[in-house]
Amino acid sequence: MLRAAGQVAAVAVIFLVLRWLIGNLATNYGRLNIGFDFGFLFRPTQFQIPNHPEFDPRSPVWRMVLVGVKNTALAGIFGVALAGVLGLIIGIGRLSQNWLAARLSSGYVEFFRNIPPLVVIVFFSFAVFLYGPLPHLREAIELELFGSDRPALILSNGEWGIPGIRSTGDISLYGILTLVGIVVAALVWRWRTRVTEQSGESHHRVLWSLGVLLVVLVGSYVALGGPFVVDWPQLSENRRRLVSGFSVNAGFMSVAGALGLYTASHVAEIIRGSIQAVPWGQSEAANALAFTNFQRYRFVVLPQAMRIAIPPLINQALNLIKNTSLAAAVAYPEITNLTQTSIGNGRPAVQSIVVLMAVYLAISLVVSLILNVVNRRMQLVTR
């Protein structure tokens, strides 16, 4: 009886508070003549996204959302890659018996873990790029490869030009063939693994699969008669913009680079913790089997450490993706930045923020699904 009363009271309180808040919202919106519909998603955006010439101010808002999600994903993927590689090196470095390497790594960790990621992003954006040592695009530094007269790298404070690829034929068919090649390489990997398990001869599966992949890539390139060529970066006549090559925006480098550096400190701590969590007896056992140092790490310590490390590592990846929202402070058009601009341009705030939150919730949901799958698989493998 008391429990039922408590339930009813709790429901009533929550309901009344929500009703009050939403009632106020409805009143205020009604006064200002703003609706609660999502029709604005199909009306023109009415602003230009920097560095996206293909985006038209007349295209609908949902196209803007897609551009934002794509840029969030790009910064997230590159940031995670950088954080993973750097964090692995620094995490192992902290356990090194070399005093200098251990000190450098722990200094790195203690520094980056204790400053806000936004400070790092702003540092990159303002002190490295915008007002940094690099010149404006007009006087951009052009670096040539040895013995070639065309620049391979164009450095300026706003964007960098790097070699890209330009389609000269059927590039989509080539893409499909590449995917086929990857699948075949994976099958070869499994075949070599099975051969080792059955006959005991060494597998060389890395060599085998990479070789197969290379054969497929080169073969289809020749067969399709060269579907693409390398597109070297080049400035326009008046040196105002890049006319060819692949342009990397300073905002992107600030966000991905800064978050990579920041998250690497957390990754390093996770790596160090999980390696130290593997009991010392395992290493002694490996030594007793006369494993080399590399073999000890590769076959005994790391597989067990990874089992401990992967769930928190995936969590850090999610944190990094959520932190890309800090790009709202610099000129990188990811979803938060674009939503802010779009609200500033008069789109309804409530609906815009609902869309924004839904995007991040979807990303979080996907990442936690991956986490669950990985957790389940690892338990199956080990038990």
Binding site: S96, L100, A101, F111, L130, G132, K322, L356
Partner: protein
Amino acid sequence: MTASTLDSHPLHPPRIGPLEWIRSRLFPNLRSGILTILLAPVVVYALYRGALFFFVNGRWEVVTRNLTLFMQGTYPRGEQWRIVAQLMLLALALGVGTSTSAASRADIAREAGLTVGKRTPLSIIKRFWSLIVFVLVLLYFAATVTPWLVMAGTVAAFLVGTSARFIPSRFRNIGWTLAALILVAAFQVVVGTVGYSWMITAGVLAAGAWATFQFEGVEGRRATVYRTSVAVAAAVVAYFVYTVLVFPGVGWDHWSGLHLTLWVSAFAIVLSFPLGLLLALARRSTLPVLRWVSTGYIELIRGVPLITLLFMGQYILGFMLPQGTDPSSITRAITAMTLFTAAYVAEIVRGGLQSIPHGQTEAGLALGLPTGKLMRMIVLPQALRSVIPALVGQFISIFKDSSLLYILAIHEFLGVRSLVHAQPDFRVIAHAESLVFVAIGYWAFAYAMSKESQRLEVRLRAGKS
């Protein structure tokens, strides 16, 4: 084991000469030696460039000329004495608080027949070296003598505060109340006594009165009634004192700089803790509705970045309140940060609650304790104790996240830069210098907090085994 074998394993490793040190730490084997040879030039070059930047090339005028701006932002210049007074009062409160805590720990140790290690200045410097470095950096950049005087006054106030250790152990709670009251006074000297600020003082006074007054020979329900009436009386007195005492101040809408950063983080920490505790309890409640609501809230908040909540506070919160109430952007930001942190605090506390063996609850039930008392006296003390390090970690994170207010054009420690670089002298130069200074500031506080949390972790683990 005989004494001689013990002696042959001294606690400290034997002292080694510098050459032996270099051999064993830098060149223990071939691969390590190569690594040293590769790394050493890079390190030396980086140190050289760093020293050049710090002492020769750096255009540090950007900091020396704007030190006041970085510290207290656009706080009205005529009212600066308030911030100085606040600093002194905070130091006094810190002195009273730490010495009371040390004295009560010493009491407990004496009862248990243990000796406590004495705190020496050296050990304090070791513990808070990052903050001391930051203060020295500030003094180095000081253009006038005022910051030196303020610093000396602060240290003196702290030393005066430490005399609280002479309060007899029977009245230890007075020490705590005193520290809390000085803390409130430090807050009030800046904001004044207008508005609802009397509530904070009344709350502290009431809690202090509740904890301090013990009535000889009165027990049970009567004692509770007595103590409650004293507490209520204290609160009423505080209310009337506040209505009589008109002491105008400068509210937080006008704060900025490091001052704002520290207070915003403090508010978010203090306010999010009770909310998070409630959410954690609700998530483990037997009432399904409470459980669903709290689980939904926690998962929703943890799935989105803080900035989306800050946007909500900025763009929507005003519309969700009756027409006419228009909280300032700093109030909105504090609300958003509190709502955000509460979800994380709830998850941490829930972890602590789950770590308490069920036998504890059963034992409490067997004693016939009602649920409220069971939670308050048995489960929560153990659960909270075990999650203190994780909570401190979360609080460090909210301190760092307070930099996001910059995106909302609030001039906290990072955002103050936009005022500094709006000055014609620094429009396009010295961005690196100002950012390095800001980074050192954040780092000093976060590093000190994380070191303290590690100390706590070690102490808690030692208590367990």
